[in-house]
Symmetry: C2
Subunit: 342 residues, 2 copies
């Protein structure tokens, strides 16, 4: 007689959850368990914003991002502008001059063509502002209820202009952490649009191309170890990833991190920590001490709230935030804070 | 007294239909009316399989495609293999050696991670077969009912190895049309899987990388005017686009176009024309008369059913099919033949 068969129920962890897309712990697990082994990637390749490689005599950066933000239109931008700026920024974070973008659309049956036209016009405007060209594209249509209006993929190619590699593994003790502006505007603008929170004046997303600021840092011949835009998961997640990849400790000065009053107020109302809220036009630069004051001067030409916010110390992949209240360790989020923020 | 307000109802044409993704007339209208003006593209840029540009001393090809095929797994492949081969093929059609691919995933909440793992493994295998590397990626998650398991975008970068431009506008009267193998296998394999049609043995998709065949044509120093893989819309749509872009007439010999018995039978059963059915491992090559017999010999090393199927004549953008029954003009499809075929 054979033993009774008792099928093991699939646990929630066997299925994709919203948090797998949140940039936190579950996203990391997908990358570590599934993507890295399959892709045969080097240790820090998949946590960087893009890939860097040589084709002939040209050193190129290549990056991809899909945008599923909801709502499609929000104060300060829309999914099209976000998609162009996002890939422009990923290329810039590789120390590259962004050049060419592709556009891949997944349209839902029934989506208004007038809205699509607005999004396309916005993409073209953003491309023009950032100095890139949209050169190739693809459109797919799915049935009603299999999409959400439109999802936009942009991929991009740029020419690396930084003379030395810019990557998380270049970060070392003694480096200074610079922040290019105040944080949390994109995430809070999206949440406000979704939840009907009124701000007067309306709080706008910070979506913007960062390539000009990066170009200025490189043209100033400053040594740059790592650049990272602060999207899903915000400043905290970005720095934790860098600290873990580089095997260092990062200590932040909480009082130096600029958060505008409306963002701070909304975060308190919604129970969010601005350190984890998404930005779409802010980045951190980790540079050697000798370059820090010049780099700060460059960043302040683009945003007067740019600041030195911390330092890198010897360690094993940790980030700590110092405030008047003491020192607390920052950790990757386990759940999903703001689904479909980008 | 003001006149009564009578809102104009939005017509169906104001909204996205499945046919906008079918590769036929409505897809063309989106490109012509919306994308080309916004992107400022040259006349044939957006109907080619990818963009070609120089970065420094390197001549590059760049392409993107999103895959929404249903079902995700089908005889001969799955969405992952399709996504890798599809972008490899788009690069090959530009006369390029495919090198690096990006992967952008839109996952639906609740999707089984085991299925995702199978798809990722399949992508890695396909990349290995095609000799390309998956170097960068992005994952987004949408709520249940806002996706369909997984959508996959692949974008790719390749190095152009063809000594002269390969593009629709290079086609001229006197050119010969070669077809690399029999047609219709991918579309019919998908339809059979969806409709539960049984084939014995099962009919498999033709999904395959075409880069080796293109490389062989280029290494043989043959003059190549245009290469085009025969995906959405099939052979007919591809040749109509080429004829229109080049401003020529193409005359096809219907008896020379190989269609396997199971594909022919299924097409009769389903009321489909194999000329419009999608392929994922077949391409047309338009070459000058002087190169035709050598090119055919190269193609037959890869597939013994490769054949000369037609000729290019002076004209104004038409394709005609000659059979025993006479000559008929081929036109872009107005509706959607096979939604979500790729």
């Amino acid at each position: 007689m054979s033993a009774p068969v008792c099928p093991v129920p699939a646990t929630a962890r066997d299925r994709i959850e919203l948090a797998h897309g949140g940039g936190g712990r579950l996203t990391r697990r997908l990358i570590e368990d599934l993507f890295r082994p399959a892709f045969g990637a080097a240790p820090d390749e998949l946590v960087h914003d893009g890939a860097v490689f040589d084709v002939g005599a040209a050193r190129l950066a290549f990056s991809t991002d899909t945008y599923v933000v909801r709502p499609l239109f929000f104060p300060g931008g829309d999914i099209g502008r976000l998609a162009v700026n996002g890939t422009v920024n990923d290329l810039a974070m590789c120390g590259a001059e962004p050049l060419y973008l592709s556009v891949g659309l997944v349209l839902e049956e029934g989506f208004a063509i007038a809205e699509l036209a607005r999004i396309i016009a916005s993409m073209q405007d953003a491309a023009s502002v950032a100095g890139v060209r949209l050169v190739t594209g693809d459109t797919k249509v799915v049935e009603r209820g299999r999409g959400d209006g439109v999802y936009v993929n942009t991929s991009g190619v740029g020419r690396v202009i930084a003379p030395v590699p810019i990557a998380p593994r270049q970060v070392r003790p003694g480096d200074v952490v610079l922040l290019s502006g105040d944080i949390g505007r994109h995430g809070i603008a999206i949440m406000a649009a979704r939840e009907g929170l009124g701000f007067e004046p309306p709080l706008a997303s910070d979506t913007a191309p960062l390539a000009a600021a990066v170009r200025a840092l490189i043209k100033a011949r400053l040594e740059l170890h790592c650049l990272r835009d602060l999207t899903r998961g915000g400043l905290a997640t970005a720095l934790i990833e860098i600290a873990e990849t580089a095997g260092v400790a990062i200590r932040l000065d909480g009082d130096a991190i600029a958060v505008s009053d409306p963002v701070r107020g909304a975060c308190e109302l919604l129970g969010l920590d601005p350190l984890y809220v998404a930005n779409e036009g802010r980045f951190a630069a980790l540079v050697p001490e000798a370059s820090a004051s010049s780099a700060l001067a460059v960043l302040r030409r683009f945003d007067t709230t740019a600041a030195v916010i911390g330092r890198v110390e010897a360690g094993t992949g940790t980030v700590a935030l110092g405030t008047l209240g003491g020192l607390r360790a920052l950790d990757l989020l386990s759940g999903e804070q703001l689904p479909r923020i980008c």
